[in-house]
Symmetry: C2
Subunit: 221 residues, 2 copies
DNA sequence: CGCATACTTGATTCGCTTCAAAACTCGTGG
DNA sequence: CCACGAGTTTTGAAGCGAATCAAGTATGCG
């Protein structure tokens, strides 16, 4: 756990503090770590797997407002109530900290606080980039951007420019990320496949066949 | 400038540091403090007026990704390049800090850094709430939410439940906040007026006539 | 007063959603 | 090994909400 997550670039003493605080925890695909509206009890580091952060309207429409990958920080220090539900999209390993003691540790360890500030600023930039996507992009642009994003996070390496990866999201969840319906996502993916930009060897697998063409379809972002 | 902005709850010594660093600056309505893609030279505190943060697609579609009000922090420490253009929606007064020295001051003054962390976390929550709005709300819900939001920020007080305020945004800018077109914004506002939920005494003035009914139209948020 | 800009309103179009059903995937048990 | 069934994905047809196109009407400034 040393290289990964908040812990990179901490001193030994700070690492010791975190280790004393943290408890390992697993979640199975589909399990929820925290429900929006409940008391905020924990923060965590994500060690492996993918988490979603989601918000819902009163009548049940869902929007995924963030995806978390290994080494990402999980949770929201300094808030008493959970704003966004946190749910596992794959089986997940976490290092969980009780929130209050974690906050105390932050106050006492400037480097940790500094690191968290940088990450939060980066997360804010990302959230705003996604606002542009949600507000101003077409369905095709959304799907193309999404696939490039996933490739960036999951595509181990590009052999001869082609990458294949395993989608951690169902079509329905992709729709909830992009602010679309499941049918529209499916149609756009089929179109990209028909046009030879991607391959869909199986339901959950995606191959990026022509990254540059895909970037053009994603416009802008 | 003491009560407002980052400076609240700083020590005298820290205030002195900031004052030595900061330079007052005015912007007229429409002027831009920083262009996306340019070198990030400054951070600032907003003293009066309203700023927009905006992003654009390659082909010129715009999305406003944030609005800043008096006492808000402006800019993005620790990034070399400006991610989002910063433009004045009204005449604006700022207290501007050169970025690098400001970053150095942050490192040396834990309380300032801590304060900035809290604000950044809050901004992230807000950005994510706006993602739900952009991705999953109808035009009517978007406009109703927007008006309630503005009332919260600008509506001095409610006399007998009615508040009137001066919109700092044109219809076109409202459209860019909500991910709609100018015509749709106009139509929805007219509808809300016809239904007696709001009044539009002049182009830029809005009166909230029935806050609860408006909240119902805004659904969820 | 006249011009430019902003806002409203109407008619039409289009992209995405909705509704409906077929095809596929995958785990289970015969 | 294959048949079965639940869940997921694809595909098709129809409808609707917001965009686009196009005037027309305020508003405000020189």
């Amino acid at each position: 756990m040393r290289d990964i997550s908040l812990c990179g670039s901490l001193t030994d003493e700070e690492l010791a503090v975190l280790n004393r605080l943290g408890r390992p925890r697993q979640l199975a695909r589909g399990e929820t770590l925290a429900w929006a509206g409940s008391e905020a009890l924990v923060c965590a580091n994500l060690l492996s797997g993918v988490l979603k952060l989601s918000a819902m309207t009163a009548d049940g429409r869902e929007q995924i407002v963030g995806l978390l990958y290994p080494a990402d920080f999980v949770g929201r220090p300094f808030a008493e109530e959970v704003e966004h539900s946190i749910t596992a999209l794959t089986d997940v390993e976490l290092c969980v900290f009780p929130r209050k003691p974690f906050e105390a540790a932050l106050e006492n360890h400037v480097r940790m606080e500094r690191l968290l500030l940088r990450r939060t600023l980066a997360a804010l930039d990302e959230a705003r980039a996604r606002m542009l996507m949600l507000g101003r992009k077409t369905a095709e642009e959304k799907v193309a951007s999404f696939l490039l994003d996933m490739a960036g996070h999951l595509g181990g390496q590009q052999k001869a420019c082609e990458v294949t990866f395993d989608l951690p999201l169902t079509r329905s969840q992709i729709a909830d990320v992009l602010g679309l319906t499941i049918e529209t996502v499916s149609r756009q993916m089929t179109k990209l496949k028909r046009d030879g930009l991607i391959g869909l060897p199986s339901n959950r697998l995606v191959t990026i066949r022509n990254r540059n063409a895909l970037r053009e379809r994603a416009e802008s972002a």
